[in-house]
């Protein structure tokens, strides 16, 4: 049985924040869970995926976050508790659905989990999704710990049903990827079947209907504010006159800092867990009881600005600060030392900063950037395209996935990146206004997510570029989740369809389409050359399973290679491929047989034919 199903109520266990959220949803009797994978949210859905195999829960990897939200919105409208999980930027994709869904509302609970990523550990921006709650007019909850994350999911479902609105559940990486002691509660059997009653004057927001629905949303927002005023998740501690308002993981840093600085007697902390609508009366009373207030929140000054406005309404003149030059930054994540330092500065308490050793005399430490795995098919594809484009001036917009790493030297393939699918859309623009050869790189999962509309755009508007689809059969970067092109039978899973990328590309009207096997360098280079010379939209589909995925399915057939005495030390292999299986010993190139998967690519480019298969089995 799945670990999260086995966990006995009341028995302490260690859970990752993401596991705690999944367990919380199971305890709340969730019937439908949908997602598009994205770090730091991925483990939540990974657990749902596994749990769905053992229970009645319906789970799906949807093609993108907007679709995921639409699926969950419908099931919730039919009265089934539903959860939709995504990373913060995913909510941008789902935003179109979200903003009008707020008007239409739901019947069964709908919880939308958005995992924000301050410091951008694995994201392209650090947007603060609390503003989505404000923009859409929806309730917003923010846990500070794994236990709270679990408990709050059930609470989120309750509020959602009470208000008949979706609830946004916002975490940050440090909540998602922290492991803490959690006490599980009882599991409620999921209700997975619902019903829909026609009610077009509430469900079809044509302008006349929408005008009523917007008014209704504002009323519900008022009701939500009342819930926020009395919510047990807005916690006040201490009786001092120095006020600290905080949220999410910052709360922990504040508690520790207050202890470390010995200022417990003087402070009063208000931890906001129900952060939209903010509990206005509660906050105003808090302000009245304080001499000065510090707001501790990662990201944007969301609460700080509200507090300042509330103070204005009450004609209060006490100092309220948060983000400023000498206090908190809007950049990156906080840590206990930053919070301690800012508290000490603002409240003028003596404090000793930690004695960080003087590291000015350290030698330069080589960076360890993440690299494509040994034998990764993307490395072969990038090499192939690079060779085929030799002598051309190129612009290579890239996209989101492991292959983004291709922008690093020595491959250096990847010149522009904004968001999922943008490699293709931007290629239309780049090719229109420049004379350079434009080559878009996009992964298979990203192609299904948002690469298709821009491809159709390119055909319709007659753009001129080559689109290279890196088809490795899985959503590799986030942990090998399936997508519509994945062969589900390889996972022994039944009941799935299969969508052919090539068929879609052809159906979109592209006539210059070629599928290549990137490990066959010569043939592939010839095919790519032909595509690059084509005027109009040409597509290359580079098909080879993700090495790491193939390894996990025990489908790797290659034998390790080694560098024989024939090697003349040109180091072409290192300088052009930089496969992580290479290393240098006594100034000679070697291949680590435990890393090499025998993709044969280095052997094909070695001018001396010095790289050959290792005969005996190592390891």
């Amino acid at each position: 049985m799945h670990r999260l199903l086995k966990a006995r109520p009341g028995q302490k266990m260690l859970l990752l924040g993401n596991e705690a959220i999944a367990r919380g949803a199971i305890e709340a009797g969730v019937g439908v869970a949908t997602t598009y994978p994205g770090t730091p949210s991925s483990e939540i859905s990974m657990n749902f995926f596994q749990i769905a195999l053992e229970t009645d829960l319906y789970f799906e990897y949807s093609t993108n976050e907007k679709v995921a939200l639409e699926v969950a919105a419908a099931s919730a409208t039919c009265g089934v508790r539903s959860i939709c999980v995504m990373k913060h930027v995913g909510l941008n994709v789902a935003a179109d659905a979200l903003l009008t869904l707020a008007y239409v509302g739901v019947k069964g609970g709908l919880v939308i989990v958005t995992a924000d990523d301050p410091f951008m550990f694995s994201s392209q921006n650090e947007q603060d999704n609390r503003y989505y709650a404000k923009l859409a007019g929806l309730p917003l909850l923010e846990p500070s710990s794994a236990q709270e994350a679990k408990d709050m999911v059930a609470y989120a479902f309750d509020i959602s049903e009470k208000l008949q609105e979706p609830v946004i559940f916002r975490t940050t990486t440090r909540i998602n990827h922290s492991t803490e002691t959690v006490i599980p509660g009882e599991i409620q059997a999921p209700q997975t079947h619902g019903d829909f009653t026609k009610d077009p004057f509430n469900y079809v927001p044509i302008p006349a209907v929408a005008r009523n629905l917007h008014a209704r949303l504002l009323n519900r927002l008022k009701e939500a504010e009342e819930l926020s005023e009395t919510s047990a998740y807005n916690i006040s501690t201490g009786n001092g006159r120095w006020g600290i308002v905080c949220n999410s993981v910052s709360y922990k840093y504040v508690v520790d800092a207050v202890t470390d600085l010995n200022m417990g007697g003087k402070t009063k902390i208000l931890r906001i867990g129900f952060s939209h609508p903010l509990p206005k009366a509660l906050l105003k009373n808090f302000l009245k009881e304080c001499e000065k207030v510090l707001v501790v929140e990662e990201g944007e000054p969301y609460m700080e600005e509200a507090l300042k406005a509330f103070a204005q309404e009450e004609r209060l003149t006490l100092p309220i600060k948060g983000k400023s030059e000498e206090l908190f930054s809007r950049l990156y994540e906080y840590n206990p030392a930053i919070v301690r330092q800012c508290l000490a500065t603002y409240f003028d308490v003596a404090h000793k900063s930690p004695a960080v050793p003087d590291l000015s005399d350290l030698p330069e430490i080589p960076q360890r950037p993440p690299t494509l795995c040994a034998g990764c098919s993307h490395r072969a594809t990038f090499y192939v395209v690079k060779k085929a484009a030799e002598g051309m001036e190129t612009i290579c917009p890239t996209d989101i996935g492991c292959y983004t790493l291709g922008f690093l030297p020595p491959l250096s393939m990847g010149d522009f990146l904004i968001c999922m699918g943008a490699s293709v859309g931007t290629s239309c623009g780049f090719s229109k206004v420049t004379d350079k050869k434009v080559i878009a790189f996009i992964g298979d999962s990203t192609f299904f997510h948002s690469g298709i509309p821009p491809l159709i755009n390119a055909v319709f508007n007659n753009h001129n570029f080559t689109m290279v689809i890196l088809d490795n059969g899985t959503t590799a970067m986030t942990g090998h989740q399936p997508h519509p092109g994945t062969d589900m039978t390889a996972l022994n899973l039944e009941g799935y369809g299969h969508v052919s990328i090539e068929a879609i590309v052809r159906a979109a009207g592209v006539s210059q389409v070629a599928a290549i096997k990137p490990y066959r360098l010569k043939k592939s280079i010839a095919a790519v050359k032909e595509a690059l010379n084509y005027k109009g939209v040409s597509v290359i589909i580079s098909q080879e399973p993700c090495t790491l995925y193939a390894k996990s399915l025990k489908k790797l057939r290659g034998k390790p290679f080694f560098v024989s005495e024939k090697c003349k030390n040109h180091k072409d292999c290192i300088n052009e491929l930089a496969c992580p299986a290479f290393f240098i010993q006594n100034k000679r190139v070697k291949i680590d047989p435990t890393l090499c998967v025998g993709c044969t690519v280095c052997a094909q480019i070695c001018p001396e034919k010095a790289i050959v298969p290792l005969k005996e089995k190592v390891l």
Binding site: T39, S178, T179, I338, V356, T371, A578
Partner: protein, 198 residues
């Protein structure tokens, strides 16, 4: 309870997360409050993996610069890089088996000499325990047991509030059955190595 802060740094694939799991489980079973935080964004693609583990009453489970009581490095260069987490009282345990990053292989920035690396760490912290954990892991027939070797060394130092028995039980519970014996052996080898390491 006094707060103890432990940082583990490793290269993706070295089993850092399993070591943290064992430590967490041992703490849970012996009633020691524990909170952990991991950064494993693109871990499988050869990047750095860092775990912060905080024992005791503190609420925070990330560790700011200069605030680690113990740093365990599975790879010498990563140990050196984690020096910013140390202070003059920090105890550092490191494996001496290098895994060269691509930047060192392609020659853009050389891998520092191990002798020099040790001298630097030693000069800036309270104590350095350094040995080739990969070689010891290989002795057990399980090259992946580097994590357990270093866990043994960590427990030997007595710097974290866990006993040998706690940890061994946790290793047995958490390891896949096929690896339990070699993991325990690796733990013992690391424990002994820490006693004699210069």
């Amino acid at each position: 309870m006094k707060t103890t802060r432990l940082i583990i740094v490793a290269v993706g694939g070295q089993g850092n997360l399993l070591a943290s799991k064992v430590i967490g489980e041992a703490a849970l079973q012996s009633g020691v409050p524990v909170g952990m935080s991991e950064i494993h964004g693109m871990a499988q693609r050869g990047g750095v993996v860092e775990s912060a583990i905080v024992f005791g009453d503190a609420q925070s489970n990330i560790i700011a610069d200069g605030e680690a009581d113990v740093v365990v490095g599975f790879e010498p260069l990563e140990t050196l890089r984690a020096l910013n987490k140390c202070n003059a009282d920090t105890i550092v345990i490191t494996s001496l088996a290098p895994l060269s990053p691509s930047t060192a292989i392609t020659g853009t920035c050389p891998y520092p000499e191990l002798k020099k690396l040790k001298a630097i760490i030693r000069a800036k912290t309270a104590k350095l325990i350094a040995f080739d954990a990969a070689a010891l892991a290989a002795q057990t027939g399980n090259v992946l047991a580097v994590n357990m070797v270093l866990l043994g060394a960590l427990i030997q130092t007595g710097t974290i509030p866990l006993t040998v028995d706690n940890v061994k039980t946790a290793i047995t519970t958490i390891s896949k059955q096929a690896f339990a014996a070699s993991n325990l052996e690796a733990f013992e080898l690391g424990f002994d190595a820490a006693k004699t390491s210069d």
